[in-house]
Symmetry: C2
């Protein structure tokens, strides 16, 4: 981990062996965690140039413009990187539910004391 990666002013994403960084999407309105996806260099470039979130679909092995079918696009207000530049944060204005299940956030269940799950829709 070089100081340059951590403290520098140059965007140098550290893509993994699969060519991807983790992309974490939070709501500009209240900071809520909405979803997690992945980006390759093309997805990040398309996101930065278009101002809307574009991910890499690992299942389809193709670029995935979020909302291209649902209309639930994510308008990107700001992109941040973490200390070692292997993850990015997208701060967005969502046009609808971020989750394909139609929940606002993909994180709609919590672990209960007995180790099960329960819904926590906000």
């Amino acid at each position: 981990m070089t100081s340059d990666i951590e403290q520098g002013r140059e965007l140098k994403p550290r893509y993994g062996a699969d060519g991807l960084v983790t992309a974490i999407v939070t709501d500009a309105a209240d900071g809520a965690l909405l979803m997690v996806a992945h980006m390759n260099a093309s997805a990040l470039a398309a996101t930065l140039s278009s101002g809307e979130a574009v991910f890499w679909s690992r299942s389809r092995q193709s670029l995935w413009r979020k909302g291209e079918t649902s209309g639930h696009v994510l308008k990107v207000r700001e992109v941040r990187v973490d200390c070692d530049q292997d993850a990015v944060q997208l701060i967005v204005d969502p046009a609808g539910p971020a989750c394909h299940t139609m929940a606002r956030s993909c994180f709609y269940r919590r672990v209960t004391p007995d180790g099960g799950l329960e819904r926590v829709d906000s």
Copy 2:
């Protein structure tokens, strides 16, 4: 993607080929994104049983109790899973800066319009 994984009440993490899920840490106080790490089944079990965040260090290939050297432990208030159960959210009370650089959050730089980075410490 089965409905059971998405809608069920059973915790069934979908570990990747590397045996890991993504772990996203947010601050219970205000929802702010603090850091991203990874967990294998042992790390998740240790987190749930101890109430403090335990991750899997990919660089050291060992369990990593966050704060074991710095004292900046993350007291876990709630654990959530995402729709397809390949990511977890830890909602925590941090005992200090989450980032090893001593920033509150690892996401302390944003991408500027010219494609560089600038600090955005809150």
